[in-house]
């Protein structure tokens, strides 16, 4: 069994191989570490590789299995974790220079759950600084590259997690999604990404961007793998007041049901406002083909209108910067992380804070903090933050009305395929438009999945988004797995099989 073969397997396949004793966790983990060693110079999906810790966990799991202990279904299957998630003993930077070298003294709840399941953590993945961005170019540590074309962006903010999974560096990864940071990278790298219902996965230990929008979720190559991972990390956590009491169950079952390819009786709504102007022709074409496949599987496809969704982007770019400006206030050089003294003048706490934040934050972070400070500041609150929260109500009502008519809503995940590095870096508004289809779900708190549904005219992957009502995450898995099965039926293989092989030796890209 070669290492390459192991890295090409899905998490579900690896879990069976581990269960049957065909392979050990050490072998699986080492194979992925080798793959990281071979391709990550080119891809730069990882900010930190924790080989020793991962292998230690792998050995422990192997020993427990050998001793006949009952272990979790995914025990021994390695995983990559976005660097916005705090990991005890492993450096955590959220892609920011202001946290360079910080080693958290505690684990996020979802990391505790990965540990409890016996899943080796391969390392921490690259991201836009504090998850602000749609291309991973805003990382303080250099961009991640798209495994489909190394000159292109892998999406963002979770470009590292998506690229790691797409480049077979990890079978599974953790992402976080505030406005599309799991789903949009999934779309542009040909991988699966799920944003659970707000409160479905604990936020305790996620370095907050926008508290009322953030949600962690699975980044994988198959819908079933996402369901498996979702059940590991989901469920109630008393340390997160916004955590739902619902158990994370029934998701794997829903995925397996969907894999039969039968969607009889499922009502699918195409959101008028998320399909049309601004979407690449190739993106639209694949979307229409996918709708046809759903119809063929017995689904009833109708068009629905969510008129206020066109205001989502505007509301989002008020709510997010406002909450972020407050969440990021703690990065001040007093208790942890970078401390920078002013070049001249007295060294006071106030001036050190300002110097630290001036030096430690990148351009996009500064832009959003200033914008958020403006939106919350006296005299503007009602017009900006207050109004944005009302838009949120209107969008929620739109979705509630739509879900009275249909079981799930669908749209393309992102309006375009992966653009070139640097292409939109100087145009913040153009960059923000990448998330136009994913943002509404965050504002409403509802769950969404992106499933790869083909290649656009430029040969780059395209994603299909499914949205479900709050707490009905299982529907995503049923419909997502069905679409995946139907598509792979027409392709004869997973989409990623069509990605170029990354040169693994003497690589100069």
């Amino acid at each position: 069994m070669s290492g390459t073969d192991l890295t090409r397997r899905t998490a579900d396949e690896l879990a069976s191989a581990l269960r049957s004793g065909e392979v050990s966790s050490v072998e699986v983990t080492q194979a992925h570490l080798d793959r990281i060693g071979a391709v990550d110079d080119a891809v730069h999906a990882f900010l930190h590789v924790s080989a020793e810790e991962a292998l230690r966990t792998a050995r422990e799991v192997d020993a427990r299995r050998a001793a006949g202990e009952a272990v979790h279904e995914l025990a021994g299957v390695p995983i990559a974790v976005k660097d916005v998630v705090v990991t005890k003993g492993l450096p955590t930077t959220a892609g920011s220079r202001i946290l360079e070298g910080w080693v958290p003294p505690y684990d996020a709840t979802l990391v505790e759950r990965l540990h409890a399941a016996g899943m080796p953590i391969l390392g921490k993945t690259n991201m836009d600084e504090f998850a602000m961005g749609s291309s991973t170019e805003h990382s303080g540590y250099g961009p991640t590259r798209n495994p489909w074309d190394l000159d292109r962006i892998p999406g963002g903010s979770g470009g590292g997690s998506a690229a790691a999974v797409a480049a077979y560096e990890a079978p599974l990864a953790i992402g976080t999604d505030t406005g599309g940071s799991i789903r949009q990278p999934g779309a542009v790298t040909g991988t699966v990404g799920v944003k659970p219902t707000y409160g479905g996965v604990s936020r305790y230990g996620l370095i907050a961007l926008a508290s009322s929008l953030d949600q962690a979720g699975p980044v994988t190559r198959t819908v079933l793998d996402s369901a498996l991972l979702h059940e590991v990390i989901g469920g109630h956590d008393p340390r997160d007041a916004t955590s739902l009491s619902d158990p994370a169950t029934g998701l794997v079952a829903a995925a397996r049901e969907g894999m039969t390819g039968d969607l009889s009786g499922v009502r699918v709504g195409v959101v008028d406002e998320l399909d049309g102007e601004g979407y690449q022709p190739g993106v639209r074409a694949r979307f229409e083909e996918s709708l046809e496949l759903l119809r063929g599987a017995g689904a009833e496809v109708v068009r629905v209108s969510c008129p206020h969704v066109v205001y989502a982007l505007a509301a989002y770019y008020l709510i997010l910067p406002s909450e972020a400006s407050s969440n990021l206030a703690k990065f001040d050089g007093m208790r942890f992380g970078l401390r920078v003294e002013p070049d001249e003048g007295p060294v006071t706490a106030e001036r050190v804070m300002a110097a630290t934040r001036g030096a430690g934050f990148g351009a996009e972070v500064k832009r959003r903090i200033i914008l958020g400070t403006y939106a919350l500041s006296a005299g503007y609150y009602d017009a900006y933050y207050g109004s944005a929260q009302k838009v949120r109500t209107l969008i929620q009502r739109d979705f509630t009305a739509a879900f009275d008519q249909v079981d799930v809503l669908v749209s393309p995940t992102a309006p375009t395929t992966a653009f070139r590095l640097g292409e939109k870096l100087d145009d913040p508004l153009a960059m923000y438009l990448n998330d136009v289809a994913t943002i509404p779900a965050n504002l409403a708190g509802i769950p969404g999945i992106s499933v790869p549904n083909g290649l656009s005219d430029d040969g780059l992957p395209v994603g299909f988004q499914v949205l479900a009502p709050a707490r009905a995450d299982a529907r995503l898995y049923r419909v997502g797995a069905a679409l995946e099965a139907l598509l792979e039926g027409t392709w004869g293989s997973p989409l990623l099989a069509r990605a170029p092989e990354l040169v693994t030796e003497g690589s100069d890209r």
Binding site: V103, P105, Y106, T197, Y198, G199, S212, L213, P238, A241, T242, H308, Y311, L313, A314, A315, Y317, A329, M334, R335, F336, G337, L338, R339, P346, V347, T348, A349, E350, R351, V352, M353, A354, A355, R357, G358, A359, K366, R367, I369, I370, L371, T373, Y374, S377, A383, Y384, G386, S387, A388, Q389, K390, V391, R392, T393, L394, Q396, P428, N442, L443
Partner: protein
Amino acid sequence: MSTISREEVARLAGLARIDLTETELDRLAGELDVIVDSVAKVSEIATADVPATSHPLPLTNVFREDVTGEVLPVADALAGAPAAEDGRFAVPQILEED
């Protein structure tokens, strides 16, 4: 809706405690103007009769039992500190008393 002057950016940077260079001030004033113009449309539909949504899911009364739990060992608490002394965080002199 409004224009954000360079002075306004400087005031906001002061509130947000971020040192900005002259170049950054100039650039941000221009960029924020464009962004604010494009997001200001939220007020078009945010009428008085629409309630604001601060939390995406309507939970209430989530309480914790008043029972003590684990604390961080002092060494862990201070491990990430840029400076520490006598079990405490050392910070530069505080000029402005609250």
